[in-house]
């Protein structure tokens, strides 16, 4: 593998969106409607860096991973791999798959239960055209790279004979078998026992550093994001609401949603401290016109309900999609455009 420079952008998504068509509310014959699972996602995955994508269920973080791995095709937007725009009209080909690999949440479901681990590891090598006489050696090598030794002992086992942590290591090993440059890890630790989670996180960190991999780490656990990530993005209802090019958004969150998320994490060191009352509504309660978080936001302004907020720089390298941080000029432009819209409408009437 040619050595890649650390920090170089390997995979980039520009304004990537995916809409799903779902049944309307009014029963079988109701009009179908479209839901934006991911909207306007901008992501850059850099060599030797881990980007954490944090969000609750339904925030679109898993769809984002599938878009980047091209298992799901986007409704609009652009993907750039190694500086070249990917043709999104065609099917994903082997060349793309060999560069961008996906690791899924459930290690038990990801392996064929009736095949030995060796089979599951050697298949991708065969498919990606590794000469047959090299395959066995390569399988040994990749198992060693995820600290499963001696390798032969694992190659001969069936998935049910291994623990969740070991299986997840094998999953990661399998993704690395074809020497990808980008690894997308979708909640890789959430199904694992608490005591082995750190082992997997440490493994991802060292793989990232040693092989100069670009990793996207998707999680709902903001503390684990802080533990391994170089950059952090927070998603809410399909949109990126806050991002920072280090972990500063976790130490000083600016978007009300990020603040709520962090205040909700159980924290024994803050016993007795005033607990933020989470505004109810559930993840389903989001507003499609203005800021999607506004129905649950305790600091929402009048304009939040009707106008989508811009991404505003709140600190060097940290951006929040929130009207609270917008400049007066930005807010004023909305009032004007609202007025002109109203004028237009009144003329039409």
């Amino acid at each position: 593998m040619s050595q890649v420079e650390t920090g170089k952008t390997l995979l980039e998504a520009k304004a990537l969106s995916r809409h799903f068509i779902v049944k309307g509310d009014g029963g079988f014959f109701s009009k179908r409607k479209s839901i934006a699972a991911v909207e306007g996602a901008d992501v850059a995955l850099r060599a030797g860096k881990i980007l954490a994508v944090v969000g609750e269920s339904g925030s679109g973080k898993s769809v984002l991973a599938r878009l980047l791995s091209r298992i799901v095709s986007p409704t609009s937007g652009e993907l750039v791999l190694n500086g070249e725009t990917v043709d999104l009209k065609t099917q994903r080909d082997l060349a793309y798959a060999s560069q961008v690999q996906l690791v899924l949440q459930d290690p038990f479901a990801a392996m064929n239960p009736v095949r030995r681990v060796g089979h599951s590891l050697e298949r991708p090598l065969l498919i990606h055209g590794v000469p047959e006489d090299e395959i066995s050696a390569r399988a040994h090598e990749i198992l060693e790279s995820v600290s499963l030794t001696p390798p032969q002992q694992f190659l001969d086992r069936y998935p049910h004979e291994l623990s969740g942590g070991q299986l997840q290591r094998i999953n990661i090993a399998r993704a690395l078998a074809v020497k990808p440059k980008v690894l997308l890890a979708d909640e890789p630790i959430s199904m694992l026992d608490v005591s082995v989670r750190l082992g997997i996180l440490n493994l991802l960190r060292s793989l990232c550093d040693d092989k100069n991999l670009a990793i996207m780490y998707i999680t709902h656990d903001i503390a684990s994001a802080r533990y391994i990530a170089d950059e952090v993005v927070v998603m809410y209802a399909g949109q990126m609401v806050e991002r920072s090019n280090d972990t500063s958004l976790i130490n000083s969150p600016q978007h009300p949603y990020t603040q709520l998320l962090i205040a909700s994490v159980p924290d024994p060191t803050k016993l007795g401290a005033e607990v933020v009352k989470a505004p109810s509504g559930g993840a389903a309660a989001f507003n499609l016109n203005g800021c999607r978080f506004s129905p649950r936001c305790s600091q929402a302004l009048a304009m939040c309900a009707t106008n989508e907020p811009p991404m505003v720089e709140v600190a060097p390298g940290q951006h929040a999609k929130c009207w609270l941080h917008a400049s007066d000029a930005q807010r004023a432009s909305v009032t004007i455009s609202n007025k002109s819209k109203n004028e237009m409408e009144s003329k039409n009437v």
Binding site: L260, S264, V265, L271, S280
Partner: protein, 350 residues
């Protein structure tokens, strides 16, 4: 409030399977629970925490078998109730009206083909035949209001509700007959942190209003520190440590508890590399002799590999631990990590 004992468990053992194939899933568990207390049970999958409560409520299914011990439930004004020797008919009268249980997956606990209202109606009708249909509906609406849901949710089907709403329904149903003890088996594990926070603070409020005792099971030790009065840590079916919540958090004594606490990366302070716990969770079919944690323990001694340590109460405290390092027979120095209070975690500001 004078605290009476509500539940007393002595040397409780549960096996899966029979004879030679039997696997001991809960081993020699003893504890008592006060009538207004919250007991937290922490442990990983396979630690026996769920099996323990299924056993205590006699909900255990084949091949699970209760093989030993005593479980006494103290009813207000009615004296002692021996759960293990009670008939199936007697236990059914106790369950739900005196002891209720909330399971992790609310989706699989609710009938997908029935509206929520019908589930409530049935619970109330079966346990109190005197209530009229109108009274049952009123009571259902009251219960929903208790967990912060609108009465129109009674018309909904389970799939129309979010995960948090469904879990609230389960909690409302568990409280329907005003039980003295509510058992929660990982009620928030499948939920988002924000929803988890909402439900946990609602539970605290409900306990203030209704004053029931609670057993709360989870793998998330930091959640328990906030929520529970006492915490019991289980490993391979045994209690390895039990202490008041804050005490356990500030000064863990068992190497496993310490490891578990170090497995959660902190949200504040410096970013340092954490180790977690090496090795894999125990295989109950092939437990090592001696202390079950010894193969993964950094401090294991020869004795740990030969003899299983008993759970011993530290003199003058409410802190019990099953570890040879803290046994009176141990002459050497206790490793610093296990002898001090964890200053960096205990929040100097307080």
């Amino acid at each position: 409030m004078t605290d009476k004992t509500i539940l007393e468990v002595q040397n409780f053992d549960v096996d899966y399977g029979y004879g030679d194939a039997a696997v001991r899933a809960v081993s020699d568990v003893s504890f008592t629970l006060g009538a207004s207390k919250v007991l937290g049970v922490a442990g990983e999958s396979g630690s026996g925490k769920s099996t323990l409560v299924y056993g205590l409520t006699r909900l255990l299914r084949e091949p699970g078998v209760i093989v030993g011990g005593e479980v006494k439930f103290h009813l207000d004004g009615e004296g002692e109730f021996d759960i293990l020797s009670a008939s199936e008919e007697e236990i059914r009268k106790i369950r739900w009206s005196h002891i209720s249980i909330v399971l992790q997956s609310a989706l699989s606990a609710l009938n997908p083909l029935r509206r929520i209202g019908r589930e409530f109606d049935e619970v109330l009708r079966v346990h109190d035949a005197n209530l009229s249909k109108e009274q049952r509906r009123e009571r259902s609406e009251e219960l929903l209001a208790l967990v912060g849901l609108r009465p129109d949710r009674l018309r909904r089907f389970p799939h129309e509700l979010s995960g948090g709403q469904r879990q609230r329904i389960m909690i409302a149903m568990a409280l329907a007959l005003r039980p003295e003890l509510v058992i929660m088996d990982e009620p928030t594990t499948a939920l988002d942190v924000v929803t988890q926070r909402e439900i946990v603070s609602e539970l605290a409020e409900l306990r203030r209003q209704l004053g029931f005792a609670m057993i709360f099971i989870t793998h998330d030790l930091s959640l328990l520190v906030e929520l529970a009065d006492d915490i019991m840590v289980m490993y391979a079916g045994q209690i390895v440590e039990r202490a008041p919540a804050k005490e356990l958090h500030d000064a863990p004594r068992h190497p496993y508890t310490l490891g578990l606490m170090n497995s959660f990366p902190p949200l504040h302070g410096e970013r340092t590399e954490l180790e977690g716990i090496p090795g894999s969770p125990p295989d109950l079919k092939a437990l090592p002799t001696g202390c079950p944690f010894s193969p993964r323990c950094a401090f294991a001694m020869d004795k740990c590999r030969q003899e299983r340590p008993p759970l011993v109460l530290e003199v003058g405290t409410e802190h019990s631990v099953a570890c040879w390092l803290h046994d009176s027979s141990y002459q050497g120095a206790v490793p610093v990590e296990l002898s001090k209070r964890l200053a960096k975690n205990s929040g100097g500001a307080q």
